[in-house]
């Protein structure tokens, strides 16, 4: 518990005032190494079974800090399953079994000593369908900080709520209705509310499972901008069916097919010169 708190506080303090010094970080650490960002998460030999069905086999994937990693692939290939491995949401599914190692900052998150609750506070998640709680907008965002006891005063809580809503690009639209139900917002606003809710806990990684699939192009564009913005402070992994979106927002792309990771690399490279013909087929098929 003590560890958790110091950890969260440590991470947050710089973040609140971080907006500009982001570029500096990239220069500092990675100047020589061909702009390789440091490793944030790594999965090795991950197999996932639903009962007797194997949904994923032998997935090795490295996720780097402050990058957007896009997961693409045909429906049913296991993208959501993989994403849920990363914050152990698969634990809640009856009969789901995960093998292999998934590390966050070098620590295996499937280790018995790891506290799932703490882990999920470090790895936030945004779902395909906006799922605001039937509470006020304010309470939606304050939910996470409250359950984790991140703040001791009402002022501090207000501040977190405001910064989260600002970062999610929602504050201007809801400033006067913070105490109205979050379910009364439009779909796109709800999705940004869910993003704000995830940010409020100060996660290090944000997982997004088709966050724009229920949204119109304008709302989608807003969220894409937002993702690009958030990249400065967070590591983001996004599942998408939209090739253009993957190309636009991500730095790395992983192509899944039938439960295996077919290809993984720089987004530009994957989209311009895919090495595997399955990747090529999928991408060109979509582009038409």
């Amino acid at each position: 518990m003590g560890k958790q708190e110091t950890n969260v506080v440590d991470v947050r303090t710089p973040r609140v005032s971080i907006a500009i010094p982001q570029g500096e970080k990239g220069d500092n650490g990675q100047a020589g190494a061909a702009k390789e960002k440091p490793l944030k998460m790594r999965t090795q030999g991950v197999n996932v079974f639903y009962g007797d069905n194997q949904a994923l086999s032998e997935i090795d994937l490295d996720i780097r800090e402050n990058e957007v990693t896009a997961l693409i692939g045909p429906s049913g290939c296991g993208k959501s399953t993989y994403l849920r491995c990363l914050n152990r949401m698969n634990d809640t599914i009856e009969g789901c079994q995960v093998e292999g190692t998934v590390t966050l900052d070098g620590e295996n998150i499937y280790d018995r000593t790891v506290d799932v609750v703490h882990l999920r506070a470090r790895i936030g998640m945004v779902f395909q369908k906006p799922n605001p709680f039937p509470k006020s907008i304010y309470d939606n965002v304050a939910y996470g900080p409250r359950i984790h006891g991140l703040v001791s005063s009402q002022d501090a809580l207000n501040e977190i709520v405001m910064t989260s809503l600002t970062k999610a690009g929602l504050l201007d639209e809801v400033r006067n209705r913070l105490h109205e139900p979050g379910t009364g917002l439009s779909g796109g606003q709800q999705q940004r509310l869910c993003i704000a809710r995830a940010i409020a806990v100060n996660p290090e990684v944000i997982l997004m499972d088709e966050p724009c699939s229920a949204l119109d192009p304008i709302a989608t564009a807003r969220i894409e901008e937002l993702i690009d913005e958030l990249r400065k402070n967070y590591t983001i992994i996004i599942v998408t069916h939209n090739m253009q979106q993957a190309a636009r927002v991500s730095q790395r792309t992983a192509f899944f097919h039938l439960g295996v990771l077919v290809e993984f690399g720089d987004t530009e490279r994957v989209f311009t010169s895919p090495r595997d013909e399955r990747t090529q087929g999928y991408i060109t098929g979509r582009f038409g």
Binding site: T92, R120, A121, F133, A198
Partner: protein
């Protein structure tokens, strides 16, 4: 018996009509059913309805009107021959005549005039039955002939049958609604009669309930006091105890089943809980009276508390157990209806399961859960058997759960058990209590249903 034979004959004839109509329709297109407008069965139904419905209607009319007609005829015939002392008491005479006609002996009164009337009565009944049978037979025949003439390949038998079915359904619904209205009206009228004998405010706010009234004017005895407050408080006390047992246990088991239990356990536990709902309340009643009541009294003795062997606690506690499945089953459905995505959202933020239940699932399900509890309350208020057996009869104004109390339902039962004069204040009081009970549960149910509806809309 005769009527039974008549009814069976009618059903058989209708069945024959069905096959007749079917084969007639088929033969009219020489067996090629595709050339018929409707499926052959519909022609069968069409003819069967023509055969059966008119004479069934006649039958109903007859059954309703016949006794009245015969009575009038008998009385008219007798009024000429009867001595004056009978004048004006036609009900009594009719009773005598009817029992004579049925072959019972009538003490001392079997005068020739009465005997004659009885014979006349029997003769009339016979004629009437023969007439009915003849009329029905001819209606069946006429319906058959008419229906057969109508059946042509182009006849829209399906639409016609559909129309008749619709009216049959409307009739059933009307009967259901009318009976309900009838019951309410009779409650209302008897209650009004009661308030002519006992002032309304004395009933609603009186503190003393002792409904013993003298049956004859020369009897010594109290004139009865009908202050219903002790009954209301007793009902409230028992209901409160029942809900104090049922709500926490029911709700928590609902939460367990909806959010914690694996599907396997849920599939076993839920039906098991619902078995509780199938136990007849009288069984709960003697469980409360013979096991729980004495047990509580013994515990009381051991701890120096004074517990009467019929106590509000025993009755309320057992009633609570009876209501558990009611609340848990409804709440379970409602909690399970809270979308999984909300739970996922909360868990993904790092909330534990119980935090998720407490802060997301329960608030979302709250309206539904409240209305489940309200429905439980209205059951508790209306529950009779358990309190009759275990709560006692003394209308005490007390809030002590260890004493015996009485409830509205118990008093209705005791008011109406045994020989009663129908229009005494004592009997009529039961109607007033019944009306109060009805009004309270009606309001509770309406509110609960309304809330559930709101809740449904929220997630549909």
């Amino acid at each position: 018996m005769q009527f039974f034979v008549l009814a069976v004959t009618l059903v058989v004839l209708t069945g024959i009509g069905f096959f007749f109509g079917r084969s007639h329709a088929l033969s009219s297109v020489s067996g090629r059913a595709r050339n018929l407008h409707s499926l052959p069965d519909y022609y069968g139904w069409y003819l069967a309805l023509w055969c059966g419905l008119p004479s069934f209607g006649l039958f109903l009319l007859w059954v309703l009107a016949e006794p009245y007609l015969i009575d009038v005829l008998v009385i008219n015939q007798m009024s000429a021959v009867l001595p004056d002392k009978w004048a004006g008491s036609s009900d009594l005479i009719l009773n005598l005549v009817q029992s004579l006609a049925a072959g019972h002996t009538v003490p001392g009164e079997a005068t020739p005039a009465l005997q004659e009337a009885a014979d006349h009565y029997n003769a009339l009944k016979k004629t009437s039955f023969a007439g009915l049978a003849a009329a029905m037979a001819s209606l069946v025949a006429a319906g058959l002939a008419w229906g057969l003439r109508q059946i042509t390949p182009g006849l829209r038998a399906r639409n016609q049958v559909e129309k008749v079915l619709r009216w049959l359904l409307v009739a059933s619904a009307t009967i259901a609604v009318l009976t309900t209205i009838g019951i309410i009206l009779s409650l209302l009228f008897e209650t009004i009669r009661f308030f002519q004998l006992t002032p309304f405010w004395d009933f609603l706010f009186g503190l003393s309930w002792s409904p013993q009234t003298s049956i004859r004017t020369d009897q010594v005895g109290s004139s009865g006091e009908f202050g219903a407050i002790p009954l209301f408080t007793g009902t409230l006390l028992v209901t409160f105890i029942a809900m104090a047992v049922a709500v926490p246990i029911g709700l928590m088991s609902a939460i367990y089943m909806a959010d914690y239990a694996s599907p396997k356990i849920r599939n076993i536990a839920k039906p098991m809980l619902e078995v509780l709902a199938g136990i007849p309340t009288v069984v709960y009643g003697f469980f409360a009276a013979l096991t729980v009541g004495p047990f509580l009294r013994d515990v009381g003795m051991a701890t120096g508390l004074e517990v009467s062997s019929e106590s509000a606690l025993a009755a309320g506690g057992v009633m609570g157990i009876m209501i558990i499945p009611f609340i848990s089953s409804l709440s379970d459905d409602i909690i399970a209806a809270v979308p999984q995505s909300l739970r996922d959202g909360s868990l993904a933020l790092g909330a534990t399961r119980s935090e998720t239940v407490r802060s997301v699932v329960l608030p979302a399900a709250l309206p539904g859960v409240i209305s489940a509890c309200l429905l439980g309350v209205s059951r508790a208020i209306g529950e009779t058997m358990i309190v009759v057996m275990a709560a006692g009869l003394a209308a005490k104004l007390t809030a002590n759960p260890l004493e015996s109390v009485t409830t509205v339902t118990v008093q209705i039962v005791t008011l109406l058990v045994g020989d009663q004069e129908f229009d005494s204040a004592k009997t009529l009081a039961a109607f007033a209590l019944g009306l109060v009970l009805f009004a309270v549960t009606l309001v509770l149910n309406l509110v609960a249903l309304r809330v559930v509806q709101k809740f449904r809309e929220q997630y549909d």
